[in-house]
Amino acid sequence: MSEHKQQPDLKQSPEQPARRDFVAKAAAGVATAVIAPGVILHTAAVAAPRTTPVTDIKRWGMLIDTAKCADGCTACVEACEHENGLDLQDEPEGVKPLKWDNQRATWIRKVKIRDNMSGRMTNLPLMCQHCEHPPCVNVCPTGASFKRADGIVMVDRHTCIGCRYCMMACPYKARSFIHEQVVKKLTRAPRGQGCVESCNLCVHRLDNGEENTACAEACQQSGHGAIIFGDLNAPHGPLREALREVDSRQIREDLELNTGVRYAGI
């Protein structure tokens, strides 16, 4: 793991649970039971809307195992679209289908990488990487692009002026611009012309006490289990357990953004 300079204190050994992890567990009042290594049961009763402001005790993140990500499977993309009302976008009249597919807002893209020499193909879902040092936040002239205390990078669309600097700055092409007036929008996912948006790790779910994103859930249900969502700051949480098991990387590690989304097998 030594090559991962930006790994969030993974070296903290399991024998010394960080105090803040203890605080986090106590505060959340989450009843968890470890059944077997790596198998953790959460009681369903934890799903309560939060009443206190988010803190940096948690930092949300993901581990995506590309070896488990199946070619042609779009379960995560579809679940995301459904959860966040992206499938309610109407295709404007007279736009070429391919152009529309490129331009419509998408929070997750399935990306296929081919090693030209060996011809080896790798599939992976690519979304906002929720960087610790997000370039999109640095360039935003109004402060609309911001990082929430719990590490989620999002856009406050009440202050977004639609300049799209953040789209240019993002190395992952994770952000979309809403070009057209949107007629139908879900209560949980407001959306309208002239603003930039991107993956927010299903923030409405997290705030309501649910600790999984639509994409991770769909991936588990489709039987692939390539996406593990969790708290990067919890040394004994499922995400950190998984990160200890497999060798993972950040995409564009060289930019030293300390991404919250990690990939294994690339």
């Binding site: 809307p49 939060r50 009443t51 206190t52 402001p53 988010v54 042609g72 779009t74 379960a75 993309v77 579809e78 679940a79 679209e81 459904h82 959860e83 499938d87 309610l88 070429k96 289908p97 391919l98 152009k99 597919d101 998408t106 893209r109 399935k110 296929k112 081919r114 911001f146 929430r148 719990d150 999002m154 406050d156 669309r157 009440h158 007036q181 949107v182 139908k184 929008k185 879900l186 209560t187 949980r188 407001p190 959306r191 309208g192 012309q193 603003c195 923030v203 409405h204 997290l206 705030d207 309501n208 639509a214 859930e217 769909a218 249900q221 489709s222 039987g223």
Partner: protein, 183 residues
């Protein structure tokens, strides 16, 4: 005028006429159209209390909502009493069939009074105009699914966009890419 001496009788007369003026004046203000913006067919029409005293809501609702907005977006606290989705779910009207009418529609709750006060809002460019769980804004349990597709997470029937994302998942071949460049 402090030097002027009024007989007790005069004082009483002035007092009475002042009291009358206040009463009559108050009456006129009351008779003028304040309120009455709550639309029939909304949940609010069946209740007699807003989330705060009515006159306070008339005066300060924009402040409350703006505060709530930052609380939600930056602090992650949702569904509290000043949430915009709360206003919509309680104040949106329904037609005879029970279909919700967009709250920003002409003459509807958020529109009628604003039109009168010459206020324009763009909030509903983005925010849902019908209560959550109604019409297209649905949160319903999916029919039992037989496929391997994620079912539990779909609380709204998936819209028919079958090839959704598929196009994105596929790497367009060279010819296709070139063709796209030409467009």
């Amino acid at each position: 005028m402090t030097e002027t001496k009024l007989t007790p009788l005069w004082r009483i007369a002035v007092g009475i006429s002042l009291a009358l003026l206040v009463l009559v004046g108050g009456g006129t203000v009351h008779a003028e159209a304040i309120g009455g913006f709550v639309v029939p067919g909304s949940k609010a029409a069946t209740l007699d209390q807003c989330v705060e005293p009515t006159s306070e809501m008339r005066h300060y609702h924009m402040e409350y909502i703006r505060h709530q907005r930052n609380t939600t977006v930056y602090n992650g606290i949702r569904h509290t009493k000043f949430s915009l989705s709360g206003c919509v779910s309680c104040h949106a009207a329904h037609d005879a069939q029970g279909t919700p009418i967009p709250i920003n529609g002409k003459g509807q709750f958020c529109n009628a009074c604003h039109e009168k006060a010459a206020v324009t809002l763009n909030c509903f460019d983005c925010h849902a105009t019908v209560p959550t769980g109604e019409s297209w804004n649905q949160v319903m349990n999916p029919p039992p699914s037989t496929s391997a597709q994620p079912a539990a997470s779909l609380d709204r029937p998936a819209l028919d966009r079958p090839a959704l994302g598929r196009e994105l998942a596929q790497v367009p071949d060279m010819a296709e890419q070139e063709e796209f460049q030409k467009r």
